[in-house]
Symmetry: C2
Subunit: 206 residues, 2 copies
């Protein structure tokens, strides 16, 4: 792939292949696709990326990406500000919003503690969470991080930092996924779902 | 994925997910990656795409993408202009150039005849190939299209159109890939490699 007939295409391929999961072959395929299609497609893609990166804001309350100083969720009066769900990034927020089961607000950490990747507590939005919990009447903090060792480490770190506040600290339930069969569920998950069993009555609401 | 906290990010995701092979989840991952990284990365990607699409040229001789009116290969005096290799697109040219086995020039069809996709001979750069062969002293045309039914159809169409010219028409060899074992080679390929067997002497050059 050293013989590019065009510096312009080569530049585009170089830039595209810096994206995660996109190698040089895919990058070239994408560049050629943009060349084949209508000019507008490439121009509006390019402009959308530039626009996004140049004008993006982060919510001053929850660190969510936002076009305004305070994101639509934090600005929404119908959301319960006394319940804060702690998540890694915006994708988790979109996933939870799609369940339509949560009416509290969020706090975005921006990652999880992961010494292997050189990410410690200081690299995350932890300080601002603790201040927010101290200064406001926060009733509950729901830790909704990934269920890995790094996630558990971060949960524990947050728990230690927050346990002296008024807020109740909870973790999202771990157990069998809906639709799964016992036979095919891994032991750790199955074990956890037995330990964390819930009264059947809580189960039959609507 | 309806709850985007930012119109800017939503626009970027919409544009990214128009690219082939990139769904909305991947598009969001790419957009968030660009937001996390240095501003320059998103800006230079956006600008590279806009630049490429706005300033790209196509070689007036072979239809290759090019920054100039005539592409570097067609402009190269060392290349043998009397041998034309007919290919689908630039990726094929890059693949052949990487073999360092070809010193002729190329002609880029821009696709292959595929009625299923609504692509007929008129949608391809066939007219200009025939004119080029008629007007210049072209000795050989090498058909190097994909070895599928569509490729074979296009080969046959080109053969019919070109058989009355002076040029010899050949097709790239089909047979066992280097490093393959007979046992694992499909019957059609193996059959073809027996039919198209070559004298052993041609084999032992360098």
């Amino acid at each position: 792939m050293n013989t590019f007939p065009s510096k312009l295409v080569e530049d585009a391929v170089n830039e595209l292949s810096r994206l995660p999961g996109i190698g040089r072959k895919t990058a070239l395929r994408l560049a050629l696709h943009l060349l084949k299609k209508n000019k507008d497609i490439a121009l509006s893609l390019g402009n959308a990326l530039i626009n996004m990166r140049q004008n993006i804001n982060f919510c001053s309350v929850c660190h969510n990406i936002s076009d305004t100083d305070i994101c639509p969720i934090c600005a929404d009066n119908k959301r319960d500000k006394s319940t804060i769900c702690v998540i890694e990034d915006v994708r988790d927020m979109i996933a939870i919003e799609n369940t339509q089961q949560y009416m509290g607000v969020y706090h975005i950490l921006g990652g999880i503690i992961s010494p292997m990747d050189g990410i410690g507590p200081d690299n995350l939005n932890i300080e601002s969470l603790i201040n927010k919990v101290r200064e406001n009447k926060v009733k509950e903090i729901i830790l909704a991080l990934r269920t890995t060792i790094e996630g558990d480490t971060t949960n524990f770190y947050l728990y230690k930092k927050l346990k002296d506040t008024e807020a109740k600290i909870s973790v999202i339930a771990r157990g069998m996924a809906i639709g799964d069969e016992l036979e095919y569920t891994d032991e750790v998950t199955l074990g956890r779902s037995i330990l964390n069993r819930t009264p059947y009555e809580t189960f039959i609401v609507d």
